[in-house]
Symmetry: D2
Subunit: 361 residues, 4 copies
């Protein structure tokens, strides 16, 4: 049973390979009546496109999204609205240089999914990583933009930002500064040092990891015990992004060294007096901001010789060519936002149904 | 849409409240022909029962499991075998002291799910935490024992152990020592210091957190990109355990500060030369041991005055009575094993189907 | 992937074999706050119990249901209410005469699932048909009683009745007469002739089939195109009952011979002027009564010699012993009602979620 | 929770409206290594295209399918193969005359889903029926062609044909004659009379219904009791086609009037001696041919005045224009085949997984 669908009620199925004809997503379960245009989705996709310098790749895809179905402009409305039927989004690939991958057809790049895809499927589209390419996340971002429209109806919003990159940690968390720098970093000063670190590593032909924090305002009551708890669902959503190797909520791993009396957030009539819980208690949102951090591993495509094997399991030395980012940050930022949005949209609908059912007429 | 079912093919639905009549699990999708007796399940449940001292609670449940359906002893077989029909497991509650919770009927304990359950459902069984009680995990452990039987057919095994408790970290990872101490700690010396720390904290009326590591041998090819990747599924499975606030795979958060050249595991004809990946590449197991760590928060039930509110949102001071553990460790250990087993059993079946389909006859 | 769960939101998982320890159902997704007692469920189970004569079997099970979880009696409420957590229902088997089946251990009864269960699973509990026994439907009826509680909140009700038995058709459809006779027949006169026919056939050691019609009042808007349409879902639900070999909605097979101008139901401001559609248009309920009919095959357990094979595929002559009904009617009546209720409860929740989402606050 | 995905393992999600940009399907769960080209899919789509006369509509869509993802041509292979990743199929709409529907914007056509879509979603794309259009089935046929490739590996095949049209029944079932006439009728003589009947009805501005039978060769063991039985799944699959109002398996409604001794199929060492069961016992295929019949209602778009209401619930007289078929037959034939293929592909994979698991290595 394959796993290309996300969500139980707000269901998103993505498809597409890095060097195939197109990528896309089908959203089944989006409520009717939401305003939705291609421009709204395009905005989110722009955040994910490679920038002009810094840590990002020179492959330049326009990433123009088309809405193929699921919206309709009723007479007298200012723009298209969702109709409750499946929304199909397609992004055609334009700038695919498949040739630059032909020398990698028979070898397994360390840190990539080449070997595991071969082991699993017995066949693989090796061009640009095929389905395992980070390019796949374009479809997630497009779908996430639809979720954003839904969440905005309930005043729920999501923001991701960089809190560590290449071993440099932010000192401040000034969310107002996130838009100031190319790294989506809430600390302009730290951002400068991160940029310098990235340049240095690029010269060495190496890559760096980092940490992204995601903060979301969230209605209370979201999350479905005991297996589909909100924290577990967020963890799965974020860990499904290629580069992510760890997820923590609120105090996270820090809580492991705390006393109960330190870690418990006291409750007052005006709300919680602390947020070590990261906005989630017993797997259900408590109305405080959700706070999640993810560990992002360094991009495995480095310009250094590496030891590996080929399809015949013979030892080879390889040096990965192609156009690559130095770090998954900052392009992973909108992807993290998208995955959190998709998770929240799904659980919002799951909870709204419950509330509705609580008061039968 | 509620969330009490785990797994897509090896599907487990659990039910039951802390102070209800019984707890249980129904497993739908277990292959036929596996040997399975109540004794096999009981063995795993014993690991989860409160011990005689240390960090665990004085509530003493016999936790006798009954297999209600799904097995049959064919003539000439030495024991019952699964038949491919649903396996229903029931554990009756015996030692429930509901009375000791009546003073908590109208107040929300900090760090617990009282407030969020009320917000979500508008009604709750407050006795012992109801469905949000750690007692619920007995059903997970019972179901995990069935998964263990399946995994053993494929030589897959899972072991969890304590690597930090109350701020004390293990220095060694001698898996042979795990059975030597009550904390399932692979470092007997550290275990002693942990026990001392727990005693000290108990005197203070406080509780402690810790870190559990889980290691599993695993066939290559398990995990279903792009949303049901093995690491994401493990993260969700483990984060669905009440006390868990973070999950990391392999190098985990450590990878965030590494260079690509450090983090990539080189590949040789005899296997990977390193395991920073924790046995998972692109969401698919690579044949190396899976290595996962979870952050366990301190038990929120402390014997100290805490600030909170009641159902009428009035401020109250509460002191939680009842019988409680000082730490979720070590009783969380078999629960972590169970959740990893359930995840692997599910993905094993998903992958076996794929392999079978690869070679049509 | 096994198939013992019904419903996408109001999810019911049943378990249990005819001669095992118990049968049961777990309902995950029932909204909180519904009044629910064992007595309410017992009432429905009574309708399914063998009667004193007529077409039914002498096996006499008390079928006492226990609610193991998922309900709670808040202070000041007159009875238990659902809490939104899984509802576990258990019915212990009492009157199982497993011995009377031992001679059938190695042979395949014609018309039964013996051969197909063996082919599918490679192992089977042959006693009383094991999981394939009609006894399994007790769990469905119990779960259906919970659905009934939910539907009653929305003034939706379901009634099944016999319209043909042993070749005798009802002339009238006086629903007030359904309670008058043991066959749940809306035509007392026809019921008498049916009873006579059943007696006659019983003497011959044979069995008979019939047709059941189900009528339900239903809110408009239920059903989820394009694959989970209400008619398709009802068809699947009803066809999943052992003896059912055909399902038709509204005019059903009769529509095949009609002209469009005859079959179309005209619409007036006060509703539809006809119900050839059976209350469903384009897979969505239109507010008219749902009308569904199912073809019930004769019970395959006859007291006549039949030609078959054994496990070694050798020819055998068998005569089925044990205690059996002459017709699945009338005991199938409450089962049909249960399956329609479960279907409607599931789709009601699916639709309520949609309505809620249509008017974000 | 919306319902545009079909299948549990071989999962197909369709999208698209009659007059939108395109229609399509995403298949997630197709095993890797199957040969698959656009031509193979196109062949099936051709069967569904309107013919030059007879019962079909003059709207002429080329229905050219594109494979957007999920296939790859490995070096040395003669054609593309599936890779185990999602297969995205897109068919662009070309010949949409949306204008001819503008007068229907505010009125509900009898027998159509106009009223129920409005009731359910509160908004609808009225052009050509939107999502409720029979044009949606093009995506089903495309997906069914992929299922056909999978089934052929296991020597499983499916054939649908007309056994009644406009009140005229076939006398013979000569499957060799199915290809001889435009109505896919296994009785050339009956086909001629059906064509005459269709012409006559067309002149009257009316439409006709009919009955389609589907026959499939099938491995034993397919179907998942107790809720996902093969007969129930087939019923749901076929009933999800717009015009279908009834489904019966084997003897179907005929079984209702039979004795058990007549209806039971005796078993011999060389197989079943009869097929009243239609190839399914206890919800599991028995190795005999599957035989299913569906009742097809007359197309509701008639060229006669009909009584209805508008959005304001005022009475209106309407006469449906546009380009319409006289009968859903024969264009429904490949759709029936597609739905049966999708059902069998799904259950084949579900059963293969089980067989594999039965013999762990």
């Amino acid at each position: 049973m394959a796993g290309n669908t996300f969500g139980a009620v707000f269901k998103v199925t993505t498809w597409g390979e890095s060097h195939g004809t197109a990528l896309g997503a089908v959203i089944d379960g989006c409520p009717p009546g939401l305003e939705l245009t291609a421009e709204m989705i395009q905005q989110e996709l722009e955040k994910r496109r490679p920038g002009k310098g810094g840590a990002t790749s020179p492959r330049s895809e326009p990433d123009q999204v088309q809405i193929m179905s699921g919206t309709f402009k009723p007479e007298g409305c200012r723009c298209e609205k969702t109709t409750g039927t499946p929304i199909s989004l397609v992004i055609f690939n334009k700038d695919a240089h498949s040739k630059s991958y032909s020398h990698l057809q028979d070898v397994f790049r360390p840190g990539h999914g080449d070997l595991t895809y071969q082991a699993k499927y017995g066949i693989r589209d090796h061009r640009g990583g095929g389905r395992a390419s980070a390019r796949e996340t374009a479809a997630r971002v497009a779908a996430g933009a639809v979720a954003k429209q839904l969440l905005s109806q309930y005043n729920m919003s999501v923001q991701a930002y960089t809190v560590a990159l290449g071993g440099i940690n932010t000192v401040k968390r000034e969310l107002s500064q996130v838009a100031d720098n190319r790294l989506f970093c809430p600390d302009n000063e730290a951002a400068e040092r991160m940029e310098a670190r990235v340049k240095e590593v690029r010269r060495q032909g190496d890559t760096v990891g980092g940490i992204v924090e995601i903060r979301a305002s969230c209605l209370p009551g979201l999350g479905e015990p005991v297996f589909d708890k909100l924290d577990g669902e967020l963890a799965r959503a974020l860990m499904s992004i290629g580069a992510v190797k760890g997820v923590e909520i609120g105090a996270g791993f820090g809580a492991a060294a705390m006393l109960g009396s330190e870690n418990n957030d006291p409750i007052s009539p005006s709300g919680f007096l602390g947020n070590n819980s990261g906005g989630i208690l017993a797997g259900i949102s408590n109305g405080e901001d959700l706070v999640v951090r993810v560990a992002v591993k360094p991009i495995p495509s480095i310009h250094k010789e590496q030891q590996s094997v080929n399809l015949q399991n013979e030892p080879v030395e390889i040096k990965v060519g192609g156009r690559h980012d130095i770090s998954a940050i900052p392009r992973i930022i909108p992807v993290c936002e998208a995955m959190v949005r998709l998770t929240l949209a799904d659980h919002l609908l799951r909870q709204l149904a419950l509330q509705e059912n609580r008061q039968p007429k």
